[in-house]
């Protein structure tokens, strides 16, 4: 399943060869700073992730790199950093079964095709697990999330 409100990205991801049980969760761009908006986004991630894990589906959370460093407001920062932590925890829970859970943080000018490439790699059974791939250059020389 691809959950995305970004049509261009959804289109690029839709053409990928992914397992039927896979979840690609694209965090909504610019979640407002209201608590209800943050909770709604994280709850949807919880529900979809639980469904994927119950079917041994690999998971990739896609988010914007700037949000991991809190550059675009507190709502989107809470969502991005919350998803990264959730992925690290879930990766521990699925490791024995060889089901990967990873995160891709995209930069401002990252091509959808590049995102798709990494999503495919990160959905491979027994591939990288619990990893964060940061695309673009905005993170260079900055904090490790």
């Amino acid at each position: 399943m691809i959950r995305s409100q970004n049509d261009e990205l959804a289109g690029a991801l839709g053409g990928l060869s992914l397992p039927d049980s896979a979840l690609v969760f694209v965090a909504n761009s610019g979640v407002s700073d209201e608590w209800t908006a943050v909770l709604e986004e994280l709850t949807e991630a919880f529900e979809l992730s639980q469904a994927a894990v119950r079917h041994s589906g690999p998971i990739v959370y896609l988010l914007e790199g700037d949000d991991l460093l809190g550059r675009r407001g507190i709502g989107s920062a809470m969502v991005a950093c919350g998803l990264l932590s959730a992925a690290r925890t879930l990766a521990l829970e699925t490791a024995r079964a060889g089901v990967p859970v990873n995160v891709v943080a995209v930069g401002a000018n990252t091509a959808p095709e590049m995102v798709g490439f990494w999503v495919e790699v990160l959905c491979r059974p027994n591939g990288p697990n619990g990893e964060l791939i940061r695309l673009g250059a905005e993170h260079l020389g900055k904090a490790l999330p």
Partner: protein, 243 residues
């Protein structure tokens, strides 16, 4: 001993092991404590603080409700000192593997650990022309088996910390502390055999003390850390490195 900490400090989760140690430490540095907790044992915590000479206002409140937030504001109204420090220490766990986690346990942990901190800061910021915020995250933000909800909430708290650090600089510094295995009531409730195994994975060979977390909070709340904002300090005995 860190520098003096003036003004009022709102500390949530004040009756818990880490929260109470933070209250004691900030009070010793000169702060007037607004101790917030929803548990009945808050009364005993306030009495404990008062007996050591602390200036303390106890507020029994559920911070997931508007009424709870109003109670904190009323408590601050009673403080002779202006608000200078906020410490978000309230937290709960409801552990389960994600496949078995209930929606209620997911939501409950997010509401208390993250929503309450978010709302408290939102409510108190208008009273805050300068000062410091310290959010108590957890080493679990790096990932911890069976804690999808808790880990997510504590990671999101790190995101809140970073975003606020950028938004509120230079008037307000915002940092987080990520405790590892600390000798609190919560961790002492873990079966001894399991606890011993957990301790054996800590390079420093023991559980941390609530006072060691409190010392880090006092550092971040004082001018001793005047050039630090947006950071996470792990107080975990090296556990983030070991197998």
């Amino acid at each position: 001993m860190t520098a003096r900490i003036d003004g009022a400090a709102v500390v949530t989760g004040a009756a818990g092991g880490i929260g109470l140690a933070i209250c004691r430490r900030l009070a010793a540095a000169g702060a007037t404590i607004v101790a917030v907790d929803m548990a009945d044992r808050l009364g005993a915590a306030v009495a404990d603080l008062e007996s050591s000479g602390a200036r303390v206002i106890g507020v029994q409140a559920d911070l997931t409700t508007e009424r709870g937030m109003d109670a904190v504001l009323a408590g601050l109204d009673g403080s002779p000192a202006a608000l200078r420090t906020i410490v978000n220490s309230a937290g709960i766990t409801r552990d389960a593997r994600l496949v078995n986690m209930t929606a209620g346990d997911f939501r409950g942990v997010l509401d208390v650990n993250l929503g309450a901190a978010h709302r408290l800061i939102d409510q108190l910021l208008p009273l805050f022309d300068h000062g410091t915020i310290v959010n108590i995250s957890s080493r679990a933000y790096l990932g911890n088996f069976g804690q999808f909800n808790y880990s997510m909430s504590k990671g999101a708290l790190v995101g809140l910390t970073r975003a606020l650090a950028l938004a509120l600089a230079p008037a307000v510094r915002v940092n987080a502390v990520a405790p590892g295995l600390i000798g609190t009531e919560m961790s002492m409730a873990i079966p001894e055999e399991v606890r011993e195994k957990m301790v054996s994975a800590v390079p420093l060979g023991r559980m941390g003390l609530p006072e060691e977390v409190a010392e880090t909070v006092a550092f971040l709340a004082s001018d001793d850390s005047s050039y630090i904002t947006g950071e996470v300090i792990t107080v975990g005995g090296g556990r983030s490195l070991s197998k």
